[in-house]
């Protein structure tokens, strides 16, 4: 049966199991939207800004593990997606972005709303395609989805000219796809695995350091098993939160710039670091020359470029983290005879760690008159569902969430780690809620970042997506203000949000509900009321304005040189 290219595109999405797309129409996708009009198998959500649509696709992908899909028109629609694409790229999120393009005959002519979006996004996509023939749509989409989700995942952009959407063709979706230059190495080398287990059994101060790769690779199960079997303390990056239950005694919490004292001390004192799907980012290592001075390093990652990029590695294992961890579990079971001796030799290490945990736990000073942000986060944990999905924006509130929420399950924290994109939280929550209409989805935002995509309130209300928006309002661009306080003599240059906003009225204007808490005693009831609502709500908390995120490793300092209270 012949159909036009626009329809073929939708059939491809259906074949890929796509149930929801986030997109915004315009001249060069009008044909695609015409085809969508009566294509009932795909739910289309119209955000109020293409950036938000792209973040929503990203939030959908992070929450589900499936490929998120966003659509934008050519020119400004396409450029509006760039921040969303870069955000996904930095955190290795599987996404396919379909952009309209001017008709092929006009490409290169500076036509109306023409932009070289492939060129613009080249450094922040895993790959990109320009479809030049209606016959190529199916194979291109097959490749795009395969690339987005396999190996180290990432966003793939497909540029789809208008004339190709109009052209008639047959639809045949290929069963398999072969890309000769792309063969991700998924299976961990058995000899390397064997060596790794030997190194662990010989270690006396081991630490497992987990990044987002463990979440993306679905490795939470085997990770938890292995850590418990070998009694190894586990610290995670911001992106790794949820891959190992923080309620477990072996958990050290998050490490790095705003990490737990015990986690940073453990890294510094360790004799063996087992890095799993992590990339030794500068926010994690602190000063490189003094990072983990006594440790050998085992690095497990599906992407060989992550290995030895920033730090020396004693044992690299390239492979899918889940596969490698499962092999390590088997290998450990083969070495049962050595296990008891090894475990008892770890006792001094565990007692060091317990000492650090006790000495400087993640804590804050409670107040009876003013709302402490950390208190709000703790109350949110206490009152929310076990399987609630939390997204954050970027800033102090993001770090407080990471420190105080306690994440026990993978894919329950959606946060922009690598790019640190303000404006991410609300649309990402929207994407997660679209994927899971019946789960509790909460976004924790600052008063700065929430404004960057506040227009999505309309999308939430229109689509009955009951996202609970929490605003920790310090009337500051708090994270920058904190740096100004500590490193720039309190010269608060352009970080005070002078204009107070009435968020209850704002919620009202969009047809949502708004709640406000100004005193600690009101926190619980506002959260309870907010959670009880069936629709989207804003819960605003006026918090201690100059509260700081602590501990903090100042930029350029060593991990063990934390500022604990300032």
């Amino acid at each position: 049966m012949k159909m036009n290219g626009a329809r073929i595109m939708l059939e491809c999405l259906k074949k890929e199991g796509v149930d929801t797309v986030f997109g915004y129409p315009g001249g060069t996708v009008i044909n695609l939207y015409d085809a969508l009009f009566d294509f009932k198998d795909i739910q289309h959500i119209l955000p109020r800004h293409e950036q938000a649509g792209t973040h929503a696709a990203d939030g959908y992908a992070r929450a589900t593990g499936r490929v998120g899909v966003a659509i934008a028109t050519s020119g400004p629609g396409a450029t509006n997606t760039v921040t969303g694409i870069a955000t996904a790229y930095m955190d290795s999120i599987p996404m396919v972005i379909i952009t309209g393009q001017v008709p092929t005959a006009l490409i290169g002519n500076d036509a109306f709303q023409e932009v070289d979006i492939i060129g613009i996004t080249r450094p922040c996509t895993k790959h990109s395609f320009l479809i030049r023939d209606v016959k190529d749509i199916a194979i291109t989409m097959k490749k795009a989805f395969y690339l987005a989700r396999s190996g180290r995942p990432g966003p793939v952009l497909v540029d789809f000219p208008k004339d190709i959407q109009i052209a008639q063709g047959e639809f045949h979706y290929p069963e398999t796809v072969e890309i000769r230059g792309y063969k991700p190495n998924l299976s961990g080398h058995p000899r390397q695995v064997e060596k790794a287990v030997t190194m662990i059994l010989e270690s006396r101060r081991p630490v497992i350091y987990v990044g987002g790769g463990a979440v993306l690779g679905g490795a939470a199960e085997p990770l938890t098993q292995l850590a418990r079997k070998l009694s190894i303390p586990v610290t995670t990056t911001l992106m790794g939160l949820g891959s190992f239950p923080e309620s477990d005694g072996l958990s050290l919490g998050m490490l790095g710039m705003h990490g737990a004292y015990c986690a940073n001390m453990a890294m510094t004192g360790s004799d063996l670091i087992i890095a799993i799907g992590a990339r030794f980012d500068d926010r994690v290592t602190g000063k490189l020359s003094t990072f983990a001075p006594h440790a050998k390093i085992i690095h497990i990652d599906v992407d060989p470029t992550s290995i030895k990029k920033n730090v020396r590695v004693d044992l690299p294992i390239v492979g899918d983290v889940k596969d490698v961890l499962m092999k390590m579990i088997k290998q450990t079971d083969k070495s049962k005879d050595k296990l008891a001796g090894y475990i008892s030799a770890l006792a001094p290490w565990h007692s060091d760690i317990d000492g650090w945990k006790e000495k400087h736990p993640i804590a804050y000073k409670q107040s009876s008159t003013i709302i402490k942000p950390q208190f709000v986060i703790q109350k949110l944990r206490e009152l929310s569902d076990d399987d609630a999905i939390i997204s954050t924006d970027v800033g102090q509130h993001q770090m407080w969430t990471a420190q105080f929420f306690q994440f026990n399950k993978p894919r329950t924290l959606l946060t922009s780690g690598g790019l640190g994109t303000m404006g991410y939280g609300l649309p990402a929550a929207m994407g997660a809620q679209a994927a899971f209409p019946n789960r509790q989805v909460i976004t924790i935002c600052g008063d700065g970042g929430v404004q960057m995509n506040i227009q999505e309130m309309a999308t939430l209300v229109q689509n009955k997506l009951p996202v609970k928006i929490v605003i920790l309002n310090n009337n500051f661009l708090g994270m920058v203000r904190q740096w100004q306080e500590l490193f720039f003599d309190k010269r608060y240059s352009s970080t005070c949000m002078e204009l107070p906003i009435d968020y209850r009225k704002l919620a009202d204007a969009y047809g949502a509900k708004g709640f406000l808490a100004t005193k600690p005693g009101e926190v619980e009831s506002v959260i309870k009321q907010g959670f009880k609502e069936n629709g989207p709500v804003i819960m605003e908390f006026k918090i201690a304005r100059e509260e700081k995120v602590l501990p903090m490793v100042p930029a350029g300092a060593s991990l063990n040189e934390m500022v604990l209270n300032a």
Binding site: I118, G119, R122, P123, K126, H127, S128, L130, L147, I179, R180, G181, Y182, D303, P304, T305, K308, K309
Partner: protein, 163 residues
Amino acid sequence: MQHTISVIVENDFGVLSRVATLFSGRGFNIDSLSVAPTNEEGLSRMTIVTRGDEQVLEQINKQLNKLIDVLKVLDFSDGSAVERELALIKVAAEDDSRTEVLRIVDIFRAKIIDVTPKSYTVEATGNPMKIDAILELLRPLGLKEVVRTGSVAIGRGAKGWNG
């Protein structure tokens, strides 16, 4: 240290700019770059001369391999390849210097490919060091224009890049 790398790529739209973006985005140097189709349908070969320490070279290798359009990266840093470059050199040649140019061309087994009353155009091939050497000798006579292709390299021995 200088390294010569050959990269086998899909002959696809945008592949050159992907490779170039990779080098510029990560602060890697390109001393020379040449690209042309190979004997295999749909494949091109790039020869890139770059510099950096071992760690940089390892990253370059891995990052190139990560590009979807790259099939194979061959690292010839260990001298396992034959390298050649071609240069077209327009040199001033009047009166006495005409015979001097011819003598140098002869020594380097180069060729004159264009002649005017005031100049010779010389075609020279060889490894890049040989090209540097002939340029050094011709320079005092007055170089008017120099075009170099950049190195191309092929592995020594009976095997091709894919066996």
